[in-house]
């Protein structure tokens, strides 16, 4: 027998006190009577029973000592030794708290059914059983270490809530099995999940909740990105899947923060998946407090509500800071100003330090000699109508060069046709003496390249050189001119690819960038002012467990991380998830159950041993009280 509260034995010191109180003379109530004459006669008869009287007193003392001992024993919370250290002493409850368990069926929410089913197992904690609790969502997590405290285990169980995330049941069972095998005397793993029990598992150790299939509609994909040819607009992709055996129809609502952007009806055949694309959304954030929160939601009712809403963040297009040097570049200036994403500054003769604060520097008609051409710290530079000294081929000028080829794959030439370009004159370029640089001949002509784009291989500096002056061509009169300028600037600024926002999947680890941190608290409803109860920012790898928006911070700049469920396997409630329980069982081996060798009635009893002791004490106390009033004890 083990005692969970052995300090309670200190109360045994009360036994001498009770005995002493018994030995003390009883304080009797004084009563005046007319005469003792008759009482003495009665007492004379009573004396014949004095021996029995003494026995009654001892019986009373014995009863009181027994009651006191029982109460002290109950206080020490005894547990059978076999349960505390022997076989079957440990139980690990694996609670499936993945998003699927939020499904609602006839019995209510499946996770609530899990908790109800798991509570009786928590009672075993007081019988010397060590009980631990493991959850599966995200990564397997020990939410309650081994404990014999029933209240502690019960509280841990009741504090659990289902997550919006997926998870790995197999990994959780494997971890539980390792926990049990590490205990002296072994134990058992009891799984509470909606997955079916493997064949080799005892059904008592695998409680399946929600075996019946449920129909469900889910958003399985949700993404937003800026439009490649127009950074000020964005396009959104939403994928909807019908995980049911019937046709389903409904509406998908797309919201930007609290504004409804669009409602799109859908009609899905059984098992069908469809993709809805919302092109050309205005991606510019019009409000100062805009966070770009996009929410897609279905207006249907189904088995699982969590996957009916998905979250994404609209790409935030950063302006490109461009420095235009020189004078009288009217066409060029207008072309740059027509691009909403370009922030233009004009400076006649900038120093290199000033130029480095810009994303792109443009020289038109001339090139400064003190520019760190082709060096490692050179700013991204666009040269028009001039050629840097180390690229100039003996200052030779080619009259009316004949265009021979165009690299249409290069981002600069995107949507531009240079073949009919009429160039009056171009400076000859020689790219041979440029070690460490990779060049693309965007527009090539006989005897000299006309437009080249180079990138330093080691450090990524970029340079675009047009040996001809665009003003002296027919280019400014064509649509291709602003496109050339825009393409060149975007390529030089490294924005040639459309911006795509990253939407994380709940339960999957998110590796944060260096210096980036996240506030691990999901927000789902847009409010202009956010109030967070948490101040602990997390860095490194972050596993979001709930869907919604998470605030990120990097170098003082606030960003948002959108997290959705987006897992077709989790959303398909018609069937178990790819027999993961079978693989778990196979990985673990056999049902890791060691039958307890102490299967007494206490195991089945809803009350722990101390409660029985207290109950017996209460019964004895009641009997003693009744006997006292019947003068059986004094």
């Amino acid at each position: 027998m083990n005692f969970l509260f052995p300090i309670g034995f200190a109360f045994l010191a009360l036994i001498p006190v009770v005995t002493a109180l018994y030995l003390l003379k009883v304080r009797r109530r004084p009563v005046a009577v007319p005469s003792l004459l008759l009482w003495q006669q009665v007492l004379a008869q009573k004396k014949r029973r004095s021996l029995f009287q003494k026995l009654r007193q001892w019986l009373s003392l014995l009863l009181h000592l027994l009651i006191l001992t029982l109460i002290i024993l109950a206080l020490t919370r005894p547990v059978p030794a076999g349960r505390a250290a022997g076989e079957g002493a440990a139980t690990v409850l694996v609670i499936d708290d993945r998003a699927r368990m939020q499904a609602v069926d006839a019995g209510g929410r499946r996770f609530d059914q899990v908790v109800t089913a798991a509570l009786p197992a928590a009672l075993e904690a007081n019988l010397g059983q060590e009980v631990a609790i493991l959850t599966t969502a995200g990564q397997p997590q020990v939410v309650q270490p081994f404990s014999q405290d029933r209240l502690e285990v019960r509280d841990a169980l009741e504090r659990l809530s289902p997550k919006d995330a997926g998870g790995d049941l197999e990994a959780a069972i494997r971890l539980a099995s390792e926990l049990v095998s590490g205990r002296e005397g072994g134990g058992r793993v009891v799984v509470f999940s909606d997955q079916p029990a493997p064949e080799n598992w005892d059904e008592n150790n695998w409680r399946r909740i929600g075996a019946a299939g449920l129909d469900n509609l889910a958003i399985t994909e949700f993404a937003a990105r800026s439009t490649p040819n127009s950074p000020g607009t964005a396009e959104v992709l939403v994928e909807i899947a019908n995980f049911s055996d019937e046709s389903r129809s409904g509406n998908l609502e797309l919201q930007l923060e609290n504004r409804l952007l669009e409602v799109r009806p859908f009609d899905l055949a059984p098992g069908e998946t469809t993709r809805l694309i919302f092109p050309a959304l205005d991606a510019r954030r019009k409000y100062a407090n805009s966070r770009g929160w996009l929410t897609a939601s279905l207006d249907t009712e189904d088995g699982l509500a969590t996957d009916d809403t998905a979250y994404a963040v609209l790409p935030k297009v950063q302006p490109i800071r461009v420095l235009l040097t020189g004078q009288n570049n009217l066409f060029l200036e207008r072309a740059l100003r027509s691009e909403p994403n370009i922030q233009l500054d004009l400076l006649a003769d900038p120093s290199i330090d000033v130029a480095r604060e810009f994303d792109v520097v443009i020289f038109a008609g001339e090139t400064p000699a003190d520019w760190p051409w082709l060096e490692a710290d050179m700013p991204s530079t666009l040269v028009l109508g001039a050629v840097p000294p180390m690229l100039a081929d003996q200052d030779e000028r080619i009259e009316q060069p004949l265009i021979t080829s165009q690299d249409r794959t290069h981002p600069i030439s995107w949507l531009i046709d240079f073949e009919r370009l009429a160039v009056a004159e171009s400076i000859a370029m020689n790219l041979e003496n440029t070690p460490g640089w990779s060049w693309s001949l965007v527009v090539d002509a006989a005897r000299t390249p006309l437009l080249v784009a180079g990138e330093r291989i080691a450090s990524g500096e970029r340079l675009v050189v047009a040996g001809f002056d665009p003003i002296k061509t027919d280019l400014p009169l064509r649509v291709a001119f602003p496109l050339l300028i825009s393409n060149s600037v975007r390529w030089l600024a490294g924005r040639e690819q459309p911006l795509e926002t990253f939407t994380a999947t709940a339960g999957q680890p998110v590796r944060l960038a260096t210096g980036e941190s996240v506030l691990p608290e999901a927000v789902q409803e847009f409010r202009p002012v956010l109030e967070s109860s948490r101040e602990t920012w997390q860095t490194g790898t972050f596993i979001p467990m709930d869907t919604g928006f998470y605030q990120t911070r990097q170098e003082g700049e606030t960003g948002w991380l959108a997290v959705s469920l987006a897992d077709p396997e989790l959303s398909d409630l018609r069937q178990p998830m790819a027999a993961e329980s079978e693989s778990a069982a196979a990985a673990v081996g056999v049902d890791p159950v060691v039958k307890p060798n102490w299967d007494g009635w206490l195991l089945q009893s809803p009350l722990p041993l101390w409660s029985w002791l207290a109950l017996v004490a209460a019964l004895l106390f009641t009997a003693e009280w009744w006997w006292f009033h019947r003068r059986r004890t004094e």
Partner: protein, 306 residues
Amino acid sequence: MIEERPSILFDSAFLSKLERLQLIARRIAAGRDRAERRSRRTGSSLEFADHRNYARGDDLRAIDWNIYGRLERLFIKLFEEEEDLPVHILVDGSASMQWQPPRADKTHWKKFDYARRLAAALAYIGLSNLDRLELHFFAGQLEHGMGLARGKKNFQRVLNYLGNPPAQSTMTTDLRVSLQTFQRKARRRGLVCILSDFLDPSGWEEPLARLNAARFDIELIQIVDPAESDPSQLGDLRLTDSESGEEMEVTVDEKVVAAYREAFAAFVARLEGFCRRHGHGWMQANTAEPFEDLILLMLREGGLVR
């Protein structure tokens, strides 16, 4: 009529009850002799009894001159002596009679007070019948009595005596000493009413037997408090004798109470048996009952009032 109230013990309600009792008593006694008793001795009443020869010194007024005319011999007419009945009422004033159960309410009569009211009622009836009445309190010994009284005009004395009992020299009951003293003091035998609880540690049988032997007509009225005959207190008690102050520790349960009731019933039965054996009257007066009911019962059964 009774004109004044000597004490709260004998209030106007009590006195009016006595008046009513007298009327009832007269009705019951109708058809019998008047209250005055004729003795065997000759006396000076108007009732002729006999003749005897004249002797020197006889009252000349008693000579029957008619017989002298016929027989020429002097005879004296003898008349019956009208004799009143001596009634002695002895009231126990011991501490046990003063006892009152704990938590008794205001309507509860102490045995002593009840006995005094009963004694007053008996005295009133006696005085109404022109009996010679003597009242005594007793406890450890016989206290100084009221003195002889006859006729209703003396009822005020009775009330004064009962309302202001003389200080008891001792509060412990001693029937033997008290009755011996009474026997010595009593000039004529007669009816002795003893109102007491008879809780005498030294016993009541021997003193009563002596009184019986002295040819007194004895009437015992045992005053009983309900709490005395049927105790209700249970538990660990320390009993204190109201007379001796002696203490006794006892644990009273239902069985002990039952044993006590049995002992009390046996005590009463012994007292009653004694009276019946010797042809004396016995009554038990429960303080919870109205005393006039008790008086009526006495009158009807003729045990006390003749």
